[in-house]
C-alpha cells in the first residue's frame, strides 16, 4: 500500500470536545496508508471569535501555522479535520497571497517572532484527501464490516465549499456521500447537507442556532436516517449536544446520534466502537454500533 504523507493540523477542538474525532482519524488514516504528521507547536487558527474582533490578528495566527508547515518542508499539503480551521486557514492563505497590505502586516508580525511565510502551503480537508487521493474504491477494498442496512445522513456544514474552492460544491457537496457509500451504508438524500448548523451563534444567539439545528435534524429523521455524519467538530457539537434544548424549545422529539465520518469509516474497516470513541457522544450511538 502506498503511504502518503501530510502535515496534520488537528485544531483546538481535538483536545476537548472532539477527542474522539482525533482518535478515529488516527486509526483510519494509518489503516488507509496516510501518514499524518502533526505540526509541531501549532496554535489556534484564529477562528470565529478572533475573526470577529481582530480580523487581521486572525490572519496572523493562521499565517503562523502555515509558516510552520512551510518551514517543516517537503511538498506535503497541510491537512485539517475541522471545517472552521479549513475556512480560516484558507482565508488567511488567500488574503496573504493576493492582498499586498495584508501581506505587509503579516510579514511584520511574523518577523517579530522570527518567522517568515512565503505563501506556498496548500490547505486541504481530510475528506478531500480521502476521496481524491485515497479514493472511495481503495476504501471499499479495505472494508471488513460493511455498514449495510445503515442509513446515514451526510452533513457537510456550510464551510466546506464556501467560499468557493476546487474541492467541494457549495450547494451540493458529494465527497462524503461517495466515501460513506464505500462503507456499504445507505446514504440518504439530504437537502440540508450544506446548511449552517448555527456555529458560534449557539453561545450568542441560541434561539437562532437552535432553529437551524432543528431543521437539519428533523430532515435527517424524516429521511429515515439512523445517524447524522459530520466532518467538523463544531457541527458535531451543535447537532449532538443541543438536541434536548431543541426538543424543549420546539416540542420535537429528536434523538439521533451525530457521528464523524471517520467513525463511520472506522467501523466499516473493523475497528471497535470504543477505540473509535463512539461512547463519548451526548446521544448514544448504540444503534449505529449494533448493526
Amino acid at each position: 500500500m502506498t503511504t502518503r504523507s501530510y502535515w496534520y493540523y488537528p485544531g483546538c477542538s481535538s483536545h476537548a470536545s472532539a477527542r474522539d474525532y482525533r482518535q478515529s482519524v488516527a486509526l483510519i488514516s494509518s489503516a488507509l496508508g496516510l501518514d499524518l504528521v502533526e505540526l509541531e507547536d501549532w496554535s489556534c487558527c484564529g477562528t470565529t471569535a478572533m475573526t470577529s474582533v481582530e480580523p487581521r490578528l486572525s490572519v496572523v495566527l493562521s499565517a503562523r501555522n502555515l509558516a510552520l508547515a512551510e518551514e517543516a518542508g517537503g511538498e506535503a499539503d497541510l491537512v485539517v479535520t475541522c471545517n472552521s480551521c479549513f475556512a480560516t486557514l484558507r482565508r488567511a492563505q488567500e488574503q496573504y497571497t493576493t492582498r499586498q497590505e495584508v501581506r505587509a502586516e503579516v510579514d511584520e508580525a511574523l518577523a517579530a517572532i522570527g518567522r517568515r511565510y512565503r505563501g506556498t502551503v496548500r490547505v486541504r480537508h481530510l475528506l478531500d484527501v480521502l476521496v481524491n487521493d485515497v479514493g472511495p474504491d481503495a476504501v471499499r477494498e479495505r472494508v471488513r464490516r460493511p455498514l449495510s442496512g445503515l442509513r446515514l445522513a451526510p452533513y457537510y456544514g456550510c464551510l466546506l465549499g464556501r467560499p468557493r474552492n476546487d474541492f467541494e460544491d457549495p450547494e451540493e457537496p458529494l465527497s462524503m456521500d461517495r466515501l460513506l457509500e464505500a462503507t456499504g451504508a445507505t446514504v440518504v438524500k439530504f437537502d440540508r447537507k450544506s446548511k449552517c448548523c448555527g456555529g458560534a451563534l449557539i453561545t450568542t444567539h441560541e434561539e437562532a442556532a437552535l432553529l437551524l439545528v432543528k431543521e437539519i435534524l428533523s430532515e435527517a429523521v424524516a429521511r429515515g436516517a439512523q445517524a447524522v455524519v459530520t466532518a467538523c467538530p463544531m457541527c458535531q457539537f451543535n447537532l449532538d449536544a443541543y438536541q434536548a434544548r431543541v426538543n424543549a424549545a420546539f416540542g420535537t422529539r429528536l434523538r439521533i446520534p451525530v457521528i464523524y465520518f471517520s467513525q463511520a469509516v472506522g467501523l466499516s474497516l473493523g475497528f471497535g466502537a470504543s477505540e473509535l470513541g463512539l461512547g463519548q457522544r451526548f446521544v448514544p450511538a448504540e444503534g449505529v454500533v449494533n448493526l
Partner: protein
C-alpha cells in the same frame, strides 16, 4: 510617374482633437514635410465642406496623394476614398493618420499629444508616397439565401426574403419549425396567444413557393465566400417519408413506447414516433431511434404496419444536400439555464418546483393538464390547484456563479406567468425580484396592471427553496423591509436565464462567426451593425446574438432579410483589392502558407509547383506574408516598403 504632390488635412473633430492637439502647429509642421504641396486644418473634415477642400485641391493644385489626420479609419476611410474617387483620383492613394483614438483621447498632456500627432502625420506622409492605385473588383452574387433556424426570427427572415422574390432554404434542426415561441402560451404585454400569431406564419413559410423547408436538418459545412457560398446540409433520417405522409397520426396512436415529451418540458409523455406538438410544420412524424422498440430490439414495427400510406421507412438514411446561396442568416436561438445545476432552488428535489418554460405548457390549453395549473403528487398531476405560488426572477441571470448578464425577457415573462396563475387559480402569487426591468412599449403599464391584480412583489432574490414538513418555503432577504423572509408556498416557478444554444460553439465555427464573452454570437458593431458578422454575407438575427423578446427577434429577422436583399439585389459584390499575392518566380512551393491561411484561400498548384491565392477568399490578413520563408508573398497596400517607411518616420520625429 509624375511628381508626388501630397495634400495633408488635419481635422479638429470639434473639440475631440483640437482640445488636446494643437492642430495649427501640426498643420505648420506638415507643410514643411517633403512632398507636401498643401496642408490645411479644418473643423470637421468628414463634413461636406471638409470633403470639398480635398476635392478642390486635387482639381486645382493637382494633388495626387492625400493624408487626412483625424479619427480611426474604421469609420471614415471609405468616406475619404470616395472623395478621392469623385475627384478622379484612385481611392487607394490615400492614408489616414489616427490622431483621435490613438492620440487626443488617450494622451493627458497637450504638448505630448501634439508631438505624437506630428509623428503620426509624418509617418502617413512618408507612407502615402509609396501607395499604388488599386482597382476594386466585383463578383456575381447568387440569388438565393439560406436561413438557419426556424424560430420566429428565422421564419420572419425567410418570409421577407421569399416575398421579395428570392429563393430561400430554411434549415431547422428540430422536426418542426416554430422554435421556442411555439411552446409559449400567451405573449406579453398584450396577452395574445402565442400559437395563434405564430402558426399562420409557420404555415405561410411552409407553403411559400420560394421557400424550401428542410426540417430535422443541420448545416455541416460552409464553403465559399460572400455571394457564393456552398453549404452542405445533413437531412437526418426521419424514417417517415415526407412525400407520402398525410399526418393522419395513426402511427403515434399505435406506437406502444412512451417517453417524456421535450416540448412539454417532461410534464407529459410522447411516443417514440411523434410530432413534437399538434400544430407542427411539417405535420410529419419522426422516429426517435434511441427509444424506438423496432430499432432497439428488432421487434414491434406497429407504426409501419398501421400506416395507411406506407410512409414509414426504417431503412431511410441521412442525406446530404449541397446548396448554392449568396447570403446566409443564422438565427439559431437560445436555450434556458438548467436549474439542475443549482440545487439550492430545489428544481430536481421537489416536484412542485417548475421552470417558467414548464409553466408555459401547464397554463396552455393544449398542454399536459389542458391548461389547468395543478400540483403534482408522487410524479402525477393531482386535482388540486396551488393556493400560493412563488415566481422567482433571475434564476441563473445576473449571478456571478452562473451568468452575469440580465436575460432581459424574463421579468416580463414572469409578470405574465404571475398574472396567468392568478387568473386561473386565484392563488396568492409572490414575485421575488431584484429589479423589475420593464423597458418596452406597454411593458411598464403591464407591470402596473399586474401589481393592481394583487400579486405580491418582494424585492429580494429567492435565495433558496426548501421543504419543511411537506411544505415548500422560499427563503429571501426582503430588501425593502430589511428582513429575512421564509414564505410558505405550494408551487415555485423558476424564471431561468437565457443561455447560448447548445452547439453554439460548433455553429460559430461552421459559419465563421465570433462569439462574445457570454457565448452568444458577436455582431460586427454593437450599435451600427447589429446583424452583420465578421464574415461578409453571413448575418445573425434573434436570440443567438443575445436575449431578446419576440418583437425584437421579429425586427431582427426582418432586418437580416433587408441585409440579405441589399446584397442580393445589388447583384454583385465588391471585393477589396487588399489581398496577398505570390511572386511565382520566387515561390518554392514549400506550402508553409497553405495551412496557416484562416480562410483556406491558398491552394498549391501541382502542375506549376507553386502556391496561388484565391483573391475572392483572401481577406488580406497578412498571416501568409509573414510566414513565407522565401519572401514570395506580399500583401497589396501593406507592402514592406510602405510599412517600413511608416515605422521609420514615426520613430524619427
Amino acid at each position: 510617374m509624375s511628381e508626388v504632390k501630397i495634400g495633408v488635412y488635419v481635422c479638429h473633430c470639434g473639440t475631440n482633437i483640437a482640445d488636446k492637439v494643437d492642430v495649427a502647429r501640426v498643420r505648420e509642421f506638415a507643410e514643411k514635410l517633403p512632398g507636401v504641396e498643401v496642408a490645411r486644418d479644418y473643423q470637421y473634415m468628414c463634413a461636406d465642406p471638409g470633403q470639398e477642400l480635398i476635392r478642390r485641391d486635387i482639381r486645382e493644385m493637382g494633388i495626387n496623394r492625400v493624408v487626412v489626420a483625424s479619427c480611426s479609419p474604421r469609420m471614415h476611410e471609405p468616406t475619404f476614398r470616395q472623395v478621392l474617387e469623385s475627384a478622379g483620383l484612385n481611392g487607394y492613394l490615400f492614408e489616414m493618420a489616427n490622431i483621435r483614438e490613438h492620440c487626443s483621447w488617450v494622451t493627458e498632456e497637450s504638448e505630448l499629444a501634439t508631438h505624437k500627432a506630428k509623428a503620426l502625420v509624418a509617418a502617413a506622409v512618408r507612407r502615402v508616397r509609396f501607395h499604388e492605385p488599386l482597382e476594386d473588383r466585383y463578383v456575381e452574387v447568387n440569388q438565393s439565401a439560406l436561413v438557419v433556424g426556424g424560430g420566429i426570427a428565422g421564419i420572419e427572415a425567410a418570409l421577407k426574403i421569399a416575398k421579395a422574390g428570392k429563393r430561400v432554404w430554411l434549415v431547422e434542426r428540430e422536426p418542426s419549425i416554430g422554435g421556442k415561441m411555439a411552446g409559449l402560451d400567451k405573449t406579453f404585454p398584450t396577452l395574445d396567444c402565442s400559437a395563434c400569431i405564430l402558426t399562420p406564419k409557420m404555415v405561410e413559410a411552409a407553403q411559400h413557393p420560394n421557400i424550401t423547408l428542410l426540417t430535422y436538418s443541420e448545416v455541416e459545412k460552409v464553403d465559399g465566400y460572400v455571394g457564393n457560398f456552398q453549404v452542405t446540409v445533413r437531412r437526418k433520417a426521419r424514417y417517415v417519408s415526407e412525400e407520402d405522409c398525410t399526418g393522419c397520426g395513426t402511427c403515434y396512436q399505435k406506437c406502444p413506447k412512451k417517453v417524456p415529451s421535450e416540448f412539454d418540458g417532461g410534464l407529459s409523455q410522447r411516443k417514440a414516433i411523434y410530432v413534437p406538438f399538434p400544430q407542427a410544420v411539417p405535420n410529419v412524424p419522426v422516429i426517435d431511434r434511441q427509444n424506438c422498440i423496432r430499432f432497439q430490439t428488432g421487434r414491434c414495427g406497429a407504426c409501419e404496419k398501421f400506416c395507411p400510406r406506407d410512409a414509414v421507412d426504417f431503412e431511410q438514411e441521412d442525406e446530404f444536400l449541397t446548396l448554392e446561396v449568396g447570403a446566409i442568416v443564422v438565427a439559431t436561438g437560445y436555450e434556458t439555464f438548467e436549474p439542475e445545476e443549482a440545487p439550492q432552488w430545489g428544481y430536481d428535489r421537489y416536484e412542485n418546483v417548475l421552470t417558467a418554460r414548464q409553466l408555459e405548457r401547464l397554463v396552455n390549453a393544449s398542454g399536459p393538464t389542458g391548461g389547468k395549473v395543478l400540483l403534482r403528487k408522487d410524479g402525477e398531476f393531482s386535482d388540486e390547484a396551488p393556493k400560493s405560488v412563488a415566481v422567482l426572477h433571475c434564476i441563473g441571470s445576473r449571478d456571478e456563479n452562473y451568468y452575469p448578464y440580465c436575460s432581459r425577457l424574463c421579468c416580463m415573462a414572469s409578470l405574465k406567468l404571475a398574472h396567468l396563475v392568478k387568473e386561473k387559480t386565484g392563488a396568492q402569487v409572490y414575485s421575488f425580484y431584484i429589479d423589475i426591468r420593464s423597458a418596452g412599449k406597454g411593458y411598464e403599464e403591464f407591470y402596473t396592471r399586474v401589481q393592481a391584480e394583487g400579486i405580491q412583489f418582494i424585492r429580494g432574490k429567492g435565495a433558496e427553496v426548501l421543504e419543511r414538513d411537506g411544505q415548500l418555503y422560499v427563503h429571501a432577504e426582503d430588501t425593502l423591509l430589511g428582513v429575512y423572509r421564509e414564505v410558505p408556498v405550494d408551487m415555485v416557478i423558476l424564471s431561468t436565464a437565457v443561455t447560448p444554444a447548445p452547439g453554439a460553439a460548433r455553429v460559430a465555427q461552421i459559419f465563421g462567426i465570433q462569439r462574445s464573452q457570454d457565448g452568444f454570437f458577436l455582431e460586427a458593431h454593437p450599435k451600427l451593425e447589429p446583424l452583420k458578422t465578421a464574415t461578409e454575407g453571413i448575418y445573425i438575427a434573434g436570440c443567438c446574438q443575445g436575449p431578446k423578446d419576440i418583437p425584437d427577434s421579429v425586427a431582427q429577422g426582418a432586418g437580416a432579410a433587408a441585409e440579405v436583399l441589399s446584397l442580393l439585389t445589388a447583384g454583385r459584390v465588391q471585393i477589396s483589392p487588399v489581398v496577398a499575392e505570390i511572386d511565382d518566380d520566387v515561390c518554392s512551393g514549400c506550402k508553409v502558407c497553405v495551412p496557416l491561411c484562416p480562410y483556406s484561400a491558398i491552394k498549391y498548384d501541382e502542375e506549376r509547383r507553386v502556391c496561388s491565392v484565391n483573391e475572392a477568399l483572401c481577406k488580406g490578413c497578412g498571416t501568409c506574408v509573414a510566414s513565407c520563408p522565401s519572401g514570395a508573398l506580399s500583401c497589396r497596400h501593406f507592402t514592406d516598403e510602405q510599412i517600413l517607411a511608416q515605422i521609420e518616420e514615426v520613430c524619427s520625429v
